[in-house]
Amino acid sequence: MAQKSFRQALNEALHFEMGRDPRVIMMGEDLTGGAGANGVKDAWGGPFGVTRGLLDAFGPERIRDTPISEAAFIGAAAGAALTGLRPIAEIMFVDFAGVCLDQIMNQAAKFRYMFGGRAKTPLVVRATYGAGSRSGSQHTQALYPIFTHIPGLKVVIPSTPYDAKGLLLQAIRDDDPVIFLEHKMLYDTVGEVPDGAYTIPFGEARVARDGKDVLIVAIGRMVQVAEEAARKLAAEGISACIIDPRTTSPLDEDTLLEFTETIGRVVIVDEANPRCGVAADISALLADKCFDALKAPIKLVTAPHSPVPYAPNLEDAYIPSADAVVKAATSIIKR
């Protein structure tokens, strides 16, 4: 099967679905780059090269480079979704949701409920997230807890190229508003991705690795960290199972509970800040629903309660590490 990058997998999904469904449009800042200028068209192909070639294939009516005006174009995307289009709006960095949160949180998320079930909002908001790019505090956050908290939104965080394509196709075909978060440090990762179209259902965790001694739950880029930790643990004779929930809303509670019941020891790795984070949320779920199966305290490995720092040594320390996961896992196995 073909080896493709995370970026290429996303690009394929966008190409495929825009070709299949004329109601799908895209809007965002520099989706092409160079709009209105005299030089190269599609100069950037998106700030991270994800949307390259779409302008050529589908034209400027459907691939709309917007002003730097998130509140307006995210709101417009919500309104277009309410009235027959299936927009994909891109927030370049999820941190910028700060200026358009109303349109996501109070509008798109709530239309269906407030309107008594008589509305559909097939909107996808794509955004990059995550630390590691030496970009300081305002371009690096893992803000999925904010969106996960809001009923009416679905929140998708792919960890592999295969998942990125299948989950994005599902997101575009989904009739609810979906926040689709792409870790910017994953764009160059490579994996097997079929050429054809496929969708991965939401609320379906992936068992990324079988194991029996400790369960590591990890999301997005943290799946890689968990995999590295699992290899190190294996060297110490500890067999770690890894579960990637893939979507934090809906959350595949059944799989998390099933594996916690069987394994009894759990480490949750989360790049988000710890207060009211997804790690805290999952750990509360497990403590509530299968306390008796737990053989040790649930350990959380998260970023600290601080903004993302700029200095490389500090940023590296901010991001949960495989060693921290190993330490957490061994601490509950050897107690």
Binding site: R23, I25, E61, R62, R64, T66, P67, S69, A71, A72, F73, I74, G75, A76, A77, A78, G79, A80, A81, L82, T83, G84, L85, P87, D102, Q103, N106, Q107, K110, F111, R112, Y113, M114, F115, G116, G117, R118, A119, K120, P151, G152, K154, D174, D175, D176, P201, F202, G203, E204, P250
Partner: protein, 325 residues
């Protein structure tokens, strides 16, 4: 624009709609006193000619978005008053099944994209509806109603910009009742609203919102431009707000004298009666009959709403998503 270009029947309909809005709001205020309508509500009384004059220019499938003060826009766009009253009472038979309430009445079948509890939030959403119309080639236009308070929200300016660069078939109707909640507009707004829109090269028209014929004429120009691909227009409509900001607002920041004068001198229904009487188009008796008809209709709406059941408990968690997994 004069009353002369309407048929007698059309004039009666215009009056009926304005009268329905007025009495709906007055009755809601009364019913608030019984404690049977939950929460609070923002009343549109005094502003009727704006909603009616604009919506009269619209097709059934055209879109509007509204504000927290949304009952008038809904009625003018054809949303059924029985379901609206039931919604205010929080009943299962309400427009939104009792789950939205006054600030979230929406009826997509009528092109009504929702009242909105967030000031100015309807503006970008309406840009999106206009974009749908443009890309799908339906010939629809979209109207974003907003108040003077909305003009100081950043997203309003962002929406002007987006509407213009994308040449969207949209009309921004700024209903200026002089107050953002309890604060006078003059105290918080710099410059001029029309000049703000004009700086985006958006044509503007300033209108007396107590004269339904003037509103109708201005909206006609704007709708025609939008449908012809000429892009957005902004109407600055001056309207009175008969009640306080919300039903529980004692409205002490305006003097009794100004309030009395406002109701006496700036009444779109009185204006209408005078105008049609001047040209002898509709008999006063006929309008009186409409008043009675409206009264009966509102009575029926209130009785039906009171008799209707509250939503079932199961409704608490349904319709959060189309598909849950």
């Amino acid at each position: 624009m004069s009353a002369l270009q309407f048929s007698r029947e059309e004039l009666v309909n215009v009056y009926r709609t304005m009268r329905t809005i007025r009495r709906f709001e007055e009755r809601v205020m009364e019913e608030m006193g019984t404690g049977d309508i939950p929460g609070n509500t923002h009343l549109y009384a005094g502003q009727e000619a704006s909603a009616v004059g604009v919506c009269l220019q619209l097709r059934d499938d055209d879109y509007i978005s509204s504000t927290h003060r949304g009952h008038g826009h809904s009625i003018a766009k054809g949303v059924d008053i029985d379901s609206m009253m039931a919604e205010l009472f929080g009943r299962a038979s309400g427009t939104c099944g009792g789950k939205g309430g006054s600030q979230h009445i929406a009826d997509l079948r009528k092109g009504m994209l929702g009242a909105n509890g967030i000031v100015a939030a309807g503006a970008p959403i309406t840009c999106g509806a206009a974009l749908s119309a443009k890309l799908l080639g339906t010939g629809q236009v979209a109207v974003a109603f907003a108040g003077d308070g909305a003009m100081n929200e950043g997203v309003m300016s962002e929406s002007f910009n987006l509407a213009k660069i994308w040449m969207l078939p949209i009309i921004f109707v700024i209903e200026d009742n002089g107050f953002g909640e309890a604060t006078a507009n003059a105290h918080v707004s710099a410059g001029s609203f029309t000049r703000r829109a004009e700086s985006y090269d958006i044509p503007t028209i300033e209108v007396d919102g107590t004269d339904v014929f003037s509103v109708y004429a201005a909206a006609g120009e704007a709708v025609e431009r939008a449908r012809a691909g000429g892009g957005p227009t902004m109407l600055h409509v001056h309207v009175p707000r008969y009640y306080g900001h919300y039903s529980g607002d004692p409205d002490t920041y305006r003097t009794p004298e100004e309030k009395a004068a406002m109701r006496r001198e700036r009444d779109c229904l009185g204006n209408f009666r005078k105008r049609v009487k001047d040209v002898s188009l509709v008999e006063t008796a006929e309008l009186d009959a409409v008043d009675e008809e409206v009264e009966a209709a509102i009575d029926r709406a209130v009785s039906a709403a009171r008799a209707a059941p509250f939503p079932p408990m199961s409704a608490l968690t349904t319709d959060v998503y189309v598909k849950y997994l």
